[in-house]
């Protein structure tokens, strides 16, 4: 493998045979070619490598939910509390290594108490498992390159005659701090197991999760849905114990060949009812543009509550109002799972006169109790003053009218059709809210007109003539019933 680095082609990775012939990563390509004229070279494809690493990280999710990328070629797994499931740390490491080897990867791995020590051991003492507290003695004999410091620091340490981590560790802290800075000391302390830095996982840690492994990979949708329901009911039990309900759930499907697919659903209210969760997940699975491909089957299915909220246990009541509300909330959740929560909306009043902003269409799942009540713009007995259909972008129209101020249009041309106006109401002047905009927006004079066939339109003239604008421009903003 070769990459272009600072205008020089250098080897970025070498295989085992090349290593035995004296090549190493970082060597200029010209030197390598001089040593081995028959050298086979490939251009490195870093994005593809990263993608592969992420796929492997996805696969590693099955061992622990805390997986972090350690670019360019490493993965960090926090296995606290997970090792006993595999019969101890050594057994777990062997298992992961064996499974990755089976998939055709070259693997090096180690288990230690801190990130730096684990990384150093993985690179320089493959397969070691260091019990917590023994990091200092385990890493002491390793070369200082294992610390993964920047090349200048490593070079300086070598020049100073410090070749192993143990030798560096013996120096006084304040000397190192003054010479190399606090970051280097922190790395060293981490390697020695003195300070612990948490890993930052790729995906947020779920609040609650339940999973099921299969000895024989499952393929059929019926079994998958059944599994999801039983996972949902065990998740529901945990949630009930904690007095919480899930607002966001994620189901992850681990395919036996390593691919992982995830689907997520959101609910409008904290939910822990297994039947509802199953229905919503089923809805989502059904609506996937790219259907869930089981390949050779899933060997692990996991359901996590990625966001949980406090939920009051509610007794089943016989109040039909409450039941109706619940049914509608469930319908909203179902529609949101299928079409996306931005597509199912409910209306809320907004405290403004600007027609397009007077009502807000908010995602119904997140609609809270309205703060402002609706106020009709018409008085009792009058015809509607606001149109039933509103154009998102007002459409320009041509207007013929008597040349008098505030005179309504006599004819209007919209979408290439002339309409004769028979009745007109207006003008209703609506000034834009100057405190919302940097630049002053033109005032609108609205007219409600009815044409000879009874069709009714809502038109406005932009700008006050002579003050804000010198030319007439008319727009159609909506249509009345």
């Amino acid at each position: 493998m070769v990459t272009k680095n600072a205008n020089a082609l250098r080897l970025s990775a070498v295989d085992r045979k090349a290593t035995s012939l004296g090549l190493s990563a970082g060597m200029p390509l010209a030197n390598a070619r001089a040593m081995l004229p028959t050298l086979k070279v490939m251009t490195a494809n870093e994005p593809a490598d990263l993608k592969l690493l992420e796929r492997i990280a996805d696969w590693c999710d099955r061992f622990s939910p805390l997986v972090a990328l350690d670019s360019p070629r490493g993965l960090l797994l926090d296995i606290s509390g997970a090792a006993h499931l595999y019969g101890g740390e050594q057994a777990m490491l062997d298992r992961i290594r064996a499974l990755l080897l089976n998939q055709g990867f070259a693997v090096r791995g180690a288990i230690a108490g801190t990130i730096v020590s684990a990384r150093a051991l993985a690179h320089y003492k493959d397969g070691s498992v260091v019990p917590s507290g023994d990091e200092a003695s385990a890493t002491a004999p390793l070369a200082i390159e294992a610390l993964n410091l920047d090349p200048i620091t490593t070079h300086a340490l070598r020049r100073a005659g410090l070749k192993t981590i143990g030798q560096v560790a013996k120096r006084k802290r304040n000397e190192l701090n003054a010479r190399f800075g606090a970051a280097m000391v922190a790395t060293l302390d981490s390697a020695l197991g003195r300070i612990e830095t948490p890993i930052s996982p790729r995906v947020p840690i779920p609040d609650y999760m339940a999973e099921r492994r299969f000895a024989e990979p499952v393929v059929t949708e019926a079994i998958i849905l059944e599994t999801l329901q039983s996972l949902a009911s065990s998740l529901g039990e945990i949630l009930t114990d904690r007095g919480e309900g899930a607002r966001r759930l994620e189901a992850a499907f681990f395919r036996s060949d390593g691919a992982v697919s995830r689907i997520a659903i959101e609910t409008g209210h904290p939910t822990r009812d297994a039947a509802i969760i199953k229905r919503l997940l089923g809805e989502k699975l059904d609506a996937l543009a790219d259907p869930l491909d089981p390949g050779f089957g899933f060997d692990l299915i996991r359901l996590c509550a990625t966001r949980a909220e406090r939920a009051q246990a509610s007794a089943i009541d016989f109040d039909t109002r409450e039941n109706e509300k619940r049914e509608i909330a469930f319908l909203i959740d179902r529609l949101a799972a299928r079409f996306g929560s931005h597509r199912i909306l409910s209306f809320q009043a907004n405290d403004t006169h600007i027609p397009e902003a007077a009502a807000l269409a908010v995602p119904a799942q997140y609609a809270e109790f309205p703060r402002i009540s609706w106020q009709a713009t018409r008085n009792g007995g009058e015809a509607p003053r606001r149109p039933l259909r509103l154009f998102e972008r007002p459409e320009p129209v041509k207007v013929v009218r008597v040349d008098l101020p505030d005179s309504p249009p006599a004819q209007l041309r919209s979408r290439r059709v002339w309409h004769e106006t028979v009745l007109a109401e207006g003008p209703e002047r609506i000034a834009m809210e100057w405190w919302r905009h940097q630049r002053a927006q033109p005032t609108r004079d609205y007219f409600r007109v009815e044409d000879e066939e009874g069709r009714r339109f809502w038109l406005y003239r932009e700008g006050i003539e002579g003050r804000e604008t010198c030319q007439e421009s008319w727009f159609m903003h909506g249509a009345f019933a």
Binding site: N323, E324, K325, E327, I328, F330, L331, I332, R334, L335, R338, F339, R343, I344, L345, S346, F347, Q348, A349, P355, A358, A359, A361, A364, P370, W374, A376, T377, R378, G380, G381, E382, A383, P384, R385, R386, P387, L388, R389, L390, F391, E392, V417, V422, L423, A424, E425, R448, E450, E452, E453, G454, R455, R456, G478, A479, F480, A481
Partner: protein, 276 residues
Amino acid sequence: MSDASSKIEFLRASLAKAGLETPDKRSRAPLGHMAADRTLKGGLQRGALHEVFAQSSHETSATGFAAALAARVGGDKHILWIRTDFSALEYGEISATGLLDFGLDPSRVLLLRVSDAEDALHAASDALCCPALGTVVIEIPREPGILDLVASRRLTLTCAESGVTALLLRFAAKPEASAAETRWLVRAARSLSPQKDIEEEHWGRPVFVAQLLRNRHGPLGHWVMEWNADDGDFKEFPNTGVGAADSGIVVSASCDRPFAAAVEDAGDTASLRSVA
């Protein structure tokens, strides 16, 4: 014979006692317009599919007619309005303030935006199973192939089971075979000037020319209705004034129709006088 019928009576009674016999959810919602209600035998059937077709360029009027029917049918239950993206671009988005002025509480209305007719039908058949809803309005422009007799039959069955009413609002489409209970063709008519006591207003309440093109269980008809947003019902359009006289309605001769009674019912409107 009497033995058998008494046995059936007994079985019915025991079913009713056990609560197994479902009561008829399919009541009728009176529209308020007397002639129309008479033709519809009391009102619009709940728990059924009704189609509202817009006459070309009268789409907003048909929207208003559907909204009015939804208000009449649904009581104070929620209304789900399903519309496709195309119809919002072409005919305008449903406006909450407009619904409010039209006499519908916007907090009772849920709006579902879908990308095409297939999604709209899928969402509709899902929503029609939810008896907490009063009405589902499905707004589908043009003539997608998926909206066929089978689809409308499916909607009808779902409606009948749950008691939710479906209103299929069609723009730029020709009526075709369907399983709908009723089918309306709607256009706007000139409004009347309102009562004298409101000085500053010149235009009146929305007026619809509604043609009942199909009625599975009764005669057809043709009426001019005025929607009263305050009372939330349809009114007879007064026979006076300029509004209806020149609204130019042409009705085909009624002799070839199965129910000739319709025109007599509608005959009181000025628009039909010339034809009748």
